[in-house]
Symmetry: C2
Subunit: 239 residues, 2 copies
DNA sequence: GCGTCCTAATAGTGTTACCAATGAATCGCC
DNA sequence: GGCGATTCATTGGTAACACTATTAGGACGC
């Protein structure tokens, strides 16, 4: 995973308890957490509780006002793109819904990212990607799913970074969470589908050759397959 | 604009100074800001300086370690999707680059969002969107650019929210900043182009009628036009 | 009744002082 | 010259205090 918070500090430990609780919806919007309750509840000083609240506030999970206390905001107002909040929500219930949202975001961003990468990547980047794809194909055939996951994450992360767009590059954590979550949920076949491997090769070759449209189309085929697989899964769960 | 920070509190006022400075690159990666310097520099107590640092830390702008001080991280590690950081960067130099990144992100997300909206919006939502488009066309013809901007923002925001995907909906602030920044930069024609108005009408009608593919294609035409206009502008600046 | 003003209780906000823990840099030994 | 012990600057954490904003409720007048 990426960007784990530093649990050496007390306020981060408090955050690691309160954050997931709020993200899981254990507090109704409008519920109040006073500083004193937080401090006493977690056995920490007021100062530490305040630092934790400052962070929650910057994520727009709560508002802190005199006399009123620390109020939980409705989920629509949360900073849903915050990596820490994403991790908290993935750890709780509603994980499946979060995974769906993230997958749809990924499906929207990765095809254009591949197109930009085909236009902007350096020669060394292109070479690296083609070589990485070679390793993926080999590992995919060998059936080592864990190693394949690592390579798959690196493949998609590389493309996002080569896109030359920092907003795309900033989604590497999201993609890595989605891919990891997908294997944890057993949404992956026991062995990568040959069709998927072929599409990855198309993407790598197209970026290597600077063919933006081809790269975009191949990447779109990859993510569309992922989205529809997720929809089938949800339909199966409900039916 | 959206989500303005609360300047009533002292730590937010400190943040409003330090944050933009870091975001503008006034501190090299690795530069150290000690708490005492911050506290004395802004005439606040250590506690307040610490609260500000906690927020900067949660945005991954800095790391705070004992003995070392508060170190500025390299820009690649920043949480570039944080709305507050986006605002800080838009306020400084490199604003044009930030606007380009955001526009490309917008171009990636809005077409799929329109498709989802066509599939998921409620009847009331669809009706509202068509009516909103009618007002846009009328205002566009009248030539009131400011009113048109407000409606344009509401149009795109509505679609993102109707997409039923919270990650898309969370980008409303980005879109509003981009649209506002575009008019501030005089990248907008003095009067909305008829072609653009027609495309907006196509999007509204397609979502109204549940035609996901049509909505997506029309939205893609809108954002592609925006991206290429931005590229022309950059080429003109450089040439 | 109903609205307005005043008052008091109740939070968060901000300050100060102090000690503990950390870890980078330096010193000194071999 | 290499390497371990020491030093000490800096953050981490606690406690106690005064200040201030906000709300609730009551008193008052209409």
């Amino acid at each position: 995973m990426s960007a784990a918070p530093d649990h050496r500090t007390l306020h981060n430990r408090v955050l690691a308890e309160v954050g997931p609780a709020i993200a899981a919806g254990e507090y109704e919007p409008g519920a109040v957490l006073t500083l004193d309750r937080l401090a006493q509840g977690y056995g920490v000083s007021r100062t530490v509780a305040r630092e934790a609240v400052r962070v929650l506030e910057s994520m727009r999970l709560v508002v802190s006002r005199p006399r009123t206390g620390v109020r939980v905001r409705p989920p629509e107002e949360w900073s849903v793109h915050d990596p820490q909040l994403i991790r908290w929500r993935l750890a709780g219930p509603g994980r499946m819904g979060q995974l769906r949202s993230l997958t749809e975001l990924r499906a929207a961003v990765e095809p254009p990212a591949a197109a930009f990468a085909a236009r902007r990547a350096t020669p060394a980047d292109r070479e690296f990607l083609v070589e990485l794809n070679g390793r993926m194909v080999a590992t995919g055939r060998s059936g080592d799913l864990e190693a394949f996951l690592r390579l798959d994450i690196e493949f998609h992360r590389s493309i996002l970074e080569m896109s030359g767009n920092e907003m795309f590059a900033g989604l590497t954590g999201v993609v890595s969470e989605v891919l990891t979550g997908r294997t944890e949920y057993d949404l992956m076949p026991r062995r990568p589908r040959p069709e998927a491997l072929r599409l990855h090769t198309h993407v790598a070759d197209a970026i290597g050759g600077g063919l933006a449209d081809v790269a975009q189309a191949a990447m779109r085929a990859i993510v569309d397959e992922v989205v529809s697989a997720l929809e089938d899964e949800e339909a199966a769960d409900c039916g």
